[in-house]
Symmetry: C2
Subunit: 408 residues, 2 copies
């Protein structure tokens, strides 16, 4: 019996999920015991660990991306395959398992570029590139490896993103409760699971900025001395400029109905530079003298409130009409920003006092392990030969099995 079949027929499987996010800090590895497939899936985290990228690598795949040539890209694919294998082996060893006990590795890979558009003079075709070769991982670990999930969805006309909503569907779908899984990463995105929903009922989209604009504002105004608002302390000590907030809320993106997705192109450093300039002009027009020390806290509070308001607007406009919201499960770095959490709770309380607001931790999932866990679940479906995309979220023509398989 082959490794794929033997993993399929086992009562439970041990899978290592590997995630390397767009921040390119390193690799998160999550070792899970999984039973069943689809909505019957039961996943339990056994161990979580991470492996930092060397600085030279981080530099190459962030700042230096536009200077990468063919040779760099080819070698990076193998180099990362090596690191991903190391991350998996480290996680397995720390968890106290032997290699032969592990059924599969499921790896997202490192996104170098994601191009759901067709804007190219010679090759007008959507494309994406996740590197970290799965044959390299399989050979260096001796474990069946699954990965490279996005191309199949794109070949079916989808955006190749988001992928995590499938795991949300499998993990959090409830017969009686309507749930929102709210991730506040650089960008904020949500998965809505109506009570006893089928895959077709799942809604998932990017609500707008998460921490991206907050972090960039702090970074720009402190000239790099600070990079984030730890615990939301800065925002909590500032005052939201309501008028300027209304101006920020006038962006077209917020009013576009889902499915929709966004990123650095819309809410990155250029956006932040522009709105800081606008804020300056705004308060000067009111006869107030611009003083960076005085206005720093207020502008951070204002862009933090932008995240809150765009999330809440999305719930009221696109989620509430589709079904009840009984539970909101917060995740991502923003789940640790006490300003964001407090304000979200206040707003949800005023929408409906019965909405329960939880974090992933509250339901036994370490916040940092969530995405790696999601790839355990996506890989588990490949073993079960079940489709694992969410066409209603990605825009794909049909449910398909995302991912490639490499034998050790």
């Amino acid at each position: 019996m082959d490794l794929l079949t033997s993993a399929r027929v086992k009562p439970s499987r041990l899978i290592v999920g590997l995630m390397s996010g767009t921040s390119a800090d390193g690799i998160d590895a999550c070792l899970c015991r999984i039973k069943g497939f689809g909505v019957q899936t039961a996943a339990e985290i056994e161990h979580f660990s991470s492996l930092k990228y060397p600085e030279t690598l981080k530099h190459m795949i962030t700042s230096d991306l536009n200077n990468l040539g063919l040779e760099d890209i080819a070698r990076l694919n193998f180099f990362l395959g090596n690191l991903l294998a190391q991350a998996a082996l480290k996680c397995i060893e720390e968890a106290g398992y032997a290699i032969w006990e592990i059924d599969a590795i499921s790896s997202h890979g490192q996104t170098l570029i994601h191009l759901p558009d067709c804007h190219h003079r010679v090759l007008p075709i959507p494309a994406t590139l996740q590197i970290g070769d799965i044959s390299v991982i399989a050979q260096l670990t001796g474990i069946l490896t699954i990965g490279d999930f996005r191309p199949a969805d794109m070949a079916q006309g989808g955006q190749g993103a988001p992928l995590v909503p499938y795991a949300d569907f499998v993990m959090f779908r409830h017969d009686d409760l309507g749930k929102i899984v709210q991730n506040i990463g650089g960008i904020s995105n949500l998965t809505y699971l109506p009570p006893s929903c089928s895959l077709d009922d799942v809604i998932a989209f990017d609500t707008g900025p998460g921490n991206m604009v907050i972090d960039a504002t702090i970074n720009l105004l402190t000239k790099g001395n600070l990079s984030m608002d730890t615990d939301g302390e800065i925002a909590n000590s500032g005052t939201v400029n309501r008028e300027f907030l209304s101006h920020l809320l006038s962006s077209d993106y917020f009013y576009k109905p889902p499915p929709k997705s966004t990123g650095r192109e819309l809410f990155g450093i250029q956006y932040t530079q522009r709105i800081i300039g606008e804020y300056k002009g705004f308060i000067q027009k009111q006869g107030v003298v611009w003083d960076i020390k005085e206005h720093f806290k207020d502008i951070v509070a204002t862009v933090s409130e932008l995240t809150v308001q765009t999330i809440v607007y999305s719930y009221k406009t696109w989620v509430a009409p589709r079904g009840p919201i009984d539970q909101v499960i917060l995740g991502g770095g923003g789940a640790y920003n006490l300003y964001l959490v407090r304000r979200l709770k206040e707003e949800l309380e005023s929408m409906d006092p019965n909405i329960q607001v939880l974090t992933h931790e509250d339901i036994g999932i370490p916040n940092t392990a969530k995405e790696a866990l999601a790839f355990c679940i996506l890989g588990n479906e490949v073993i079960g030969l079940k489709p694992n995309n969410v066409p209603s979220a990605t825009g794909a023509q049909k449910p398909v099995i995302l991912g490639k398989v490499a034998f050790p």
Copy 2:
């Protein structure tokens, strides 16, 4: 039952092999019916067809290779996936089969770069990049797709090449006969299969230039008016300069014991420019006036003879000591060069009058279909979950299953 398992247990399988060579002319597709695995394999070609690359694409992946950026490479991977799917569908339709009758597609992909060395300032790791995404092929055809064979061998310390010797072993291995499968492409390479050999006994290596130096010489001396020696007519009308030939034969590569491989780096356009200059100097030193018209035929004859002599030297030095040579099966463009074929036959006749010299056509395999057929056989082994590399030829530490699998 999944597609991989159901293909495995069938009495015979229909597999489409796809090959896109380094000349980047287009895609060769070969539809095969295959029974069994390993040395029990029986393969029969049902149809062969090819699809030309658009000129813009050909330009991008040959002349423009060093100018490719990250976005180009990502989009090329999807664009080629599309073309490979089209090539497979065309072959299947021409052969009169329905999609559901085909068990698998097995694709080599287009090599953009192959780097078995470690010469990189930040990423000192061997790598290779074959594009034409197999998830795209699987989704657009609805057929199980296998491909990207080289990385697994390289992860095991191998060169990721050559791959075809495995197919030679499966197709041509004989209980009583010792056989050389001699490919004369741009580079000449051979697979030697001793009588009743096991995989460990297989020898495979590049003997030196095939048509590469001949073609480049003709192209340079006719300023691009001719690109090859059709039927070997030019060489047949010239006279080999024995003294200059001895000079050419002094290159180190020819005396290096196998396993070894070479390419454009050693015998490309720069090599050819250099030896043309040397030839000129050589005959001028003999007091003869250089006349391009007069010496053209002789220099073509001389570089053609270089191909013959390096092949024959390899047989005598590295093959004959390992076992009997009963049959030589010629393939590649050089199998149509009547000068090369005549001279090889003469040399082999003088080695041993009983050596039988055949072409692939003589044993029912169209010369042009050979490599695509080889990938049917490599893919068939993935279905059978059998190793399909030749460690004695690639230098890999052990036999492994090369290739990744994408489900439709």
